[in-house]
């Protein structure tokens, strides 16, 4: 009994989701209560496990027996998974509580919303606790599904419905590669269980098949963690409610790709990650980091700035994975989860208090209206831009450290991205919080309620302290993690330099317009700004190539078949044939008794003739 306790991580949210959906659809308060209870219970269980509650190995569940392949589903409880669960359930619990305040007064169905959150908690726990790629993949698809539900929560808004579809379909592309990768892994290692992978590789290290397998698995991470070229769905996913963006599209789900890759590195062994695969992974991460930091620099929507910033931080983590620094990747994942959830929730509080205004050029002066929220947001900002002493600083430095040791270009990319990060965050803070209120909505802004402020305080505390050794050593999801003390070396000064350059540039460019309460970006009409605002034309490129090109041709082909073959030939043709035959046959039903008799007797004569001829 005791050994099966970890299954509660999966069962509780699932039961909560089912109850919300099926029984409590008309009782939103109770549904919220059930969801929050379930997430708090999992959080308590998780803390208990971390404090040394020994549960033993949970029993496997045999999904369906296949000759020679073990497809059982089971849980893997180790330092990596259980500490990751703390991040998931911890932020999950705070987001659930924050949602109470955020969704108050929203006319949509709250039961549906909380059911979506619970089903997300279930699927995310599947990914984190899975002991084999099978369960990981199931969770992988389930988080995609719950993300679809939650992005499209306000489905009556066309943009939200479109964004939900875009997220789901883009993820499918990556998941297809992931599935191929899983098949290849099964072939190469003979098992999908993480515990059975090490040392069972059937090919030589560095073989092309292995590279292919790793890169196909990486495809899954590219989709889920929104890396270039599949990054387009994440900014659009901001159409969902802000707590959802904080939980799913900043802290946990999008980090699942990083988690999965690190899990594979740990279980397969680092030598399974061939040089080619690593270079590709690191390059994709670096490209994503640079491109999205650039795009973030000219966004006006507060959530979109944060979304692009998430992309760019995920790029950092993927880059660290490519540099075989799984430890640094998980460290950054963990600090990023706290401070980015903080930033999103604070942004959510600001959005609610500004009557759902998301454009930073219509805010302004918020530092007087809602000082506590703004203070929390600034704490998150400091962590994100890696101000020394805040959590992001430690984790970012460990990634830069890893890059410094292995590849100079990647190190430079990391520094440049750090400078851009500072630039867009300082710009955001200056414009949104500085100066005077630009609109009536911002004028009437007021401090958020306690159900929103308390989670913000907790997250702000984590954003500040989670990077220090005494916290990080205990909580970072990596076995035997040890935070290194800060040294006065190249990475430290490079990071500090990027901070000063980026911040200084932003101050130089935007301090005046913030103080003057300009109504829009003074550089908005500049050519570079226009290119960045159009998201470097990547989305338009996809629109033209895939939707305008491939899909239109395909639509033509399908409609030709539909119209020509199905409608004309099968539909009309069959109708005509039937009518024609019917008219022909109706002639012989003339209604004349004589005719019938003649035909019948002729038939008899023919039969007799046939008999005579044949026999």
């Amino acid at each position: 009994m005791m050994q099966n306790l970890p299954w509660l991580f999966l069962v509780l949210p699932l039961v909560a989701a089912a109850a919300d959906w099926l029984l409590l659809a008309r009782r939103p308060r109770m549904a919220a209560g059930v969801s929050i209870t379930s997430v708090l219970a999992t959080l308590v269980l998780c803390i208990a496990c971390m404090c040394g509650l020994q549960t033993g190995t949970p029993a496997d569940y045999t999904w369906f027996p296949v000759q020679g392949i073990d497809l059982s589903l089971g849980l893997l409880i180790d330092a990596l998974s259980i500490k990751m669960m703390l991040v998931v359930t911890g932020i999950g619990a705070l987001v659930h509580i924050f949602s109470l305040g955020y969704m108050k007064g929203d006319p949509s169905n709250h039961s549906r919303y909380f059911a979506g959150l619970s089903i997300f908690m279930f699927s995310m726990s599947c990914i984190v606790l899975a002991n084999s790629l099978v369960l990981t993949f199931i969770g992988w698809e389930m988080v995609g599904f719950s993300s679809y539900l939650l992005i499209g929560h306000w489905y009556h808004k066309e943009t939200a419905a479109d964004a939900a579809k875009k997220a789901f379909i883009t993820n499918r592309v990556g998941d297809f590669g992931f599935l191929i990768g899983i098949m290849l892994t099964l072939g190469l290692f003979g098992s999908l269980h993480y515990a059975d992978m090490a040392g069972h590789m059937k090919v030589a290290a560095g073989s092309p098949v292995l590279t292919a397998a790793i890169l196909f698995l990486f495809c899954g991470a590219v989709g889920k963690s929104a890396q270039f070229p599949l990054h387009v769905w994440l900014p659009d996913a901001m159409e969902g409610p802000t707590p959802v963006s904080a939980l799913i599209h900043a802290a946990t789900m999008v980090a699942a790709g990083v988690y999965m890759l690190v899990r594979l590195q740990v279980s397969m062994g680092l030598y399974a990650f061939t040089d080619t695969a690593c270079s590709v992974i690191a390059a994709i991460g670096a490209i994503t980091a640079v491109l999205s930091a650039l795009m973030a620099a000219q966004q006006d929507d507060i959530k979109r700035v944060l979304a692009y910033s998430t992309l760019s931080q995920l790029g950092y983590m993927i880059m660290a994975v490519g540099l075989l620094a799984g430890e640094a990747a998980m460290f950054h994942l963990y600090t990023h989860a706290w401070f980015k959830a903080l930033l999103f929730l604070a942004a959510g509080a600001i959005i609610v208090c500004c009557h759902h205004e998301q454009n930073i050029w219509k805010m302004g002066g918020l530092r007087q209206k809602m000082p506590l929220t703004v203070l929390c947001f600034l704490a998150g900002t400091c962590a994100l831009v890696a101000v020394p002493g805040f959590s992001g600083f430690f984790s970012k430095e460990s990634i830069l450290e890893a890059a410094w040791g292995r590849s100079l270009p990647l190190f430079i990319v990391g520094i440049v991205v750090a400078a851009f990060t500072t630039f867009y965050m300082v710009r955001l803070c200056l414009v949104a919080f500085g100066g005077r209120a630009r609109t009536r909505d911002a004028e009437q802004a007021h401090e958020a309620g306690p159900s929103m402020l308390v989670p913000l305080f907790i997250l702000a505390a984590m954003a500040i302290i989670s990077g220090y050794g005494f916290v990080a050593d205990r909580l970072v999801p990596f076995a035997d993690f040890h935070a290194e003390s800060t040294e006065w070396n190249v990475t430290f000064f490079a990071g500090l330099g990027s901070l000063i350059v980026g911040g200084g540039l932003a101050w130089f460019m935007y301090a005046k317009s913030a103080a003057d309460s300009a109504q829009s970006d003074p550089f908005g009409s500049h050519i570079i700004s226009r290119i960045l605002r159009r998201r470097l034309y990547i989305d338009s490129f996809y629109d033209h190539l895939l939707i305008g090109g491939v899909q239109r041709w395909f639509t033509c082909l399908v409609s030709c078949i539909d119209d020509g073959v199905i409608r004309r030939l099968v539909g009309h043709g069959l109708a005509l044939l039937t009518a024609w035959t019917g008219r022909l046959l109706s002639r012989i039903q003339g209604g004349s008794l004589r005719g019938y008799t003649v035909v019948a007797s002729l038939g008899v004569f023919l039969l007799i003739l046939l008999l005579i001829i044949l026999f």
């Binding site: 003339g590 209604g591 004349s592």
Partner: protein, 105 residues
């Protein structure tokens, strides 16, 4: 002894007359009578064959039994047929087969 062919020719004649009448006459009553004629023709053939197939003056009785069956069934058929004709006459004041086109129209 009369050869078999004579009987068969006679039976064929009866049958043909019956068939011709059934096709050509319009009065349903006459058509019914012509049907009886055709059955009789068939019976004649049956009995003739039964005699011809018999050994040493003893006919094959199977065919004769069949002929009796045919007569019995013909009688039953006439009973049904006549009552139908009566019903038809009551309904439409005539027994012309060409007037039976209400389903077609």
């Amino acid at each position: 002894m009369t050869p078999l062919s004579h009987y068969l020719i006679f039976s064929a004649l009866l049958f043909s007359i019956g068939l011709g009448g059934a096709i050509m006459r319009r009065n349903v009553l006459v058509v019914l009578m012509c049907l009886e004629l055709m059955l009789t023709g068939a019976n004649v053939a049956l009995v003739a064959f039964s005699r011809a197939q018999g050994l040493e003056g003893i006919p094959v009785y199977d065919a004769q039994v069949l002929a009796l069956f045919v007569m019995a069934i013909a009688a039953a058929e006439v009973a049904v047929g006549l009552s139908l004709i009566v019903a038809m006459f009551r309904a439409r004041r005539g027994v012309e087969s060409t007037s039976l086109t209400s389903l077609k129209d």
